[in-house]
Symmetry: C2
Subunit: 444 residues, 2 copies
């Protein structure tokens, strides 16, 4: 596969366009998407314009939003209208969120009235909610219908609907009563009542944050979930592949912030260097400012340091171990939060667990530190290192475990509060602990 991609890339580079057009026809949509995502902006626009119209629409549909936006910018208005019209209302709204408001409004005017009104339903919800990500094109069946009636509706309404596999069942007031799956419908008799076949429903409120809804859908293994308004009327549906998109985006964000940077929101190789730099510089700067705390701590203890330069030899090792212990705890708890295994209400339980884990780890490393340093340097210093490791690991694990919960409680992304900040905190407080223990043990 990768050699084929390289061949295609060479064709764009060399502008062998007729050849490229023919070659592209033989590739599946997924492969073409992979190929386009690795090209530069200009080359991607060239290659995209070579695709036959209907293939182009499918490819466009699967592209990263940031790239969709760039392609739209490079197209003539009439083509833009075509792609815009071909998208599902939910995808259309997500693309509009990336475009300047004036362009978005112009696009909306070109839409046919039905598509426009569907799009407006989705636009009515705040951008972080599942209402904004759902599809308003669903097939609902009234509970008093028979299987035959329902299948007839499925056949007629089928082509446009987001999914036909999970059908919301509603009463006469359009209130959600349950769901029935197409699987059950095709196996049932024509005259059975929907009421008898429908199952209990897991639905989400349109105002629920999109990530929570997606996590629920993935955890509970639903192919689709109905979305309801505050009166429990069905307003849309979202499918497991929307959930996957939302989770992938959320996980990219978490991963990036875990590493102390903003997410790229686009494929790595298609992102300009300066843009990558911008996702990192602010974080790095803030963390560096936090890091100056360690300079101040050491400045306070400079007299102690001058008396015993050997103490400075262990500084990187100690803060490294403290940082790692804190990271371990923060990572475990952040992941448990994301999976819903713990909530902010478990703060005390988490702190007590991490305190014990940290103390156990610290004692183990402490004994090793005592012996190692005692034999190579002096036993005095060995005792200092040993005791510091016990205190440091206990402190780091407890703080690391609590940090993500604190972040969540404050309404921030737990990943932000976790790893990068835990290091800064542990670095400074670990040094204080180290020098206090050193002064006490060595009597200086």
């Amino acid at each position: 596969m990768s050699e084929q991609l390289d061949e295609l890339t060479e064709m764009v580079r060399d502008e062998r366009l007729t050849e490229l057009r023919r070659a592209l026809e033989e590739h599946a949509v997924g492969d073409i998407v992979d190929f386009l995502e690795r090209l530069g902006v200009r080359e991607r626009a060239v290659a995209f314009r070579l695709l036959p119209k209907d293939q182009a629409v499918d490819v466009f549909d699967m592209l990263d939003q940031a790239l969709q936006h760039e392609i739209i910018e490079g197209l003539k208005d009439v083509d833009v209208a075509l792609f815009f019209d071909a998208l599902d209302p939910d995808d259309r709204v997500r693309l509009m969120d990336e475009m300047p408001a004036s362009v978005a409004r112009k696009m909306m005017r070109h839409l046919d009235p039905r598509e426009r009104s569907l799009t407006n339903i989705v636009l009515g919800y705040p951008s972080s909610t599942i209402g904004r990500q759902m599809s308003p094109e669903f097939v609902a069946v009234p509970e008093h219908w028979t299987v035959g009636q329902a299948l007839e509706k499925v056949r007629r309404a089928g082509a446009d609907a987001e999914t036909l596999y999970t059908l919301p069942v509603v009463d006469r007031q359009r209130l959600l009563k349950g769901v029935v799956s197409l699987r059950v419908l095709v196996s049932a008799e024509e005259d059975e009542a929907i009421e008898e076949l429908m199952t209990e429903v897991d639905s989400v409120d349109a105002d629920l944050p999109a990530e929570e809804a997606a996590r629920l859908c993935a955890d509970r293994k639903h192919l689709a979930m109905p979305v309801t308004d505050s009166e429990h009327r069905v307003v849309g549906i979202f499918t497991v592949d929307d959930a996957l998109d939302i989770l992938e985006r959320a996980e990219s964000e978490d991963a990036a912030r875990h590493g102390g940077a903003e997410p790229l929101h686009r494929p790595y190789l298609s992102t300009p260097v300066l843009r990558i730099m911008r996702t990192r510089v602010v974080w790095l700067f803030v963390l560096a400012i936090g890091g100056t705390l360690t300079v101040q701590v050491l400045d306070v203890f400079e007299a102690t340091l001058s008396q015993l330069v050997v103490l400075s030899l262990f500084i990187p090792l100690l803060i490294g171990i403290g940082g790692n212990t804190g990271n371990q705890a923060a990572t475990t708890v952040t992941r448990a939060l994301a999976l819903g295994d713990v909530s902010t209400r478990d703060a005390l339980k988490v702190a007590w667990r991490e305190l014990r884990v940290g103390a156990t780890l610290g004692s183990t490393l402490g004994v090793l530190g005592l012996l190692g340093v005692g034999f190579t340097y002096t036993w005095d210093i060995g005792v200092v290192i040993g005791l510091t490791l016990v205190a440091l690991c206990t402190l780091a694990a407890s703080a690391g475990g609590l940090m993500p919960l604190l972040g969540k409680k404050l309404g921030a992304d737990p990943a932000v509060f976790a790893n990068p900040f835990i290091s800064t905190f542990v670095d400074a407080s670990g040094l204080v602990v180290y020098f206090l223990i050193a002064r006490a043990v060595l009597g200086i």
Copy 2:
């Protein structure tokens, strides 16, 4: 919801079992699973035995594998056989992988012959492959059939099959020719030919690593993908919810190793403290051993340090910034690797990008460092810090970007090679750079 969970938890604690049994009946399966995952082993066993048989089977099905295993251990043989029989062959195999071989064999003997032979198909593939995770219960339709015939088969074979929404289409030799969706079937006329309706297929080989197959399924937004043997005969199917499970497991592993620990493979609050400690201690120890390199580096430069104790004040700040820069690069590239946006063949491109990103970041921080330290300490030291930051960030970003690719190339988990090891590497090499620059600039 959480208050209700607390109420249930109190009922177990106080052994108010009749009350608990009644309360459990009113909860959905998903909620009961959430509840059970927060209990201790003994309490979970008590609560589980209160569930009515058919609800118990559904709950069991959704539980974490580690917890399934514990519950099985606490049950009588006759009950074990019941649960074992109710599981799908793929889930059964995954549970067997966690049980002692002797228990697993005994369980297999209790299975009815059809279930046993299906289980054996899955057992025939190595445990990391998609063959081991697929379901052998699929409904395939011959290409020369009509829609009516296909729907008839779906109706008859329906109840047992893993999915009916994606049906593999095969020729007379059972070779995979395409897929047809139930959605298309119900909208088509009874006498249309399957051949005319089937679409091109994205299938995976049974020997493909499970994570790759799952990533493909999620990326390409398939509800299910046929699994084929080396001759392109269909041997099974795997669905997007299996893919979600596999990806969640893989992401938990990546997240844990990113933070320098082994994954828990079970809900956080249900994991004993000593077990959490065990997932961390080896990593921490290995990283600490790596950290002793910094002690050796500083030992070499001890004379320089004694002459100018002020140099030691900046050690934690500098290695903190180096570590953060390296982490940022490593995290970005690890994520890009996981998403398939880069491959090991892009190593040069990645290195060149990260070198430029690192140099830009280093120059920015370097100027700030020069000014900040210059004004508060001396301009000599300011120049040392400024130059060190430029060199350090360039080094850290390039190494951080290459590390995950190196890990992948060596067949290790890229996340393992990324963040924890990058810190160790950057700490030691950063100190060398710092002292060499200091000696050169200060002439000591």
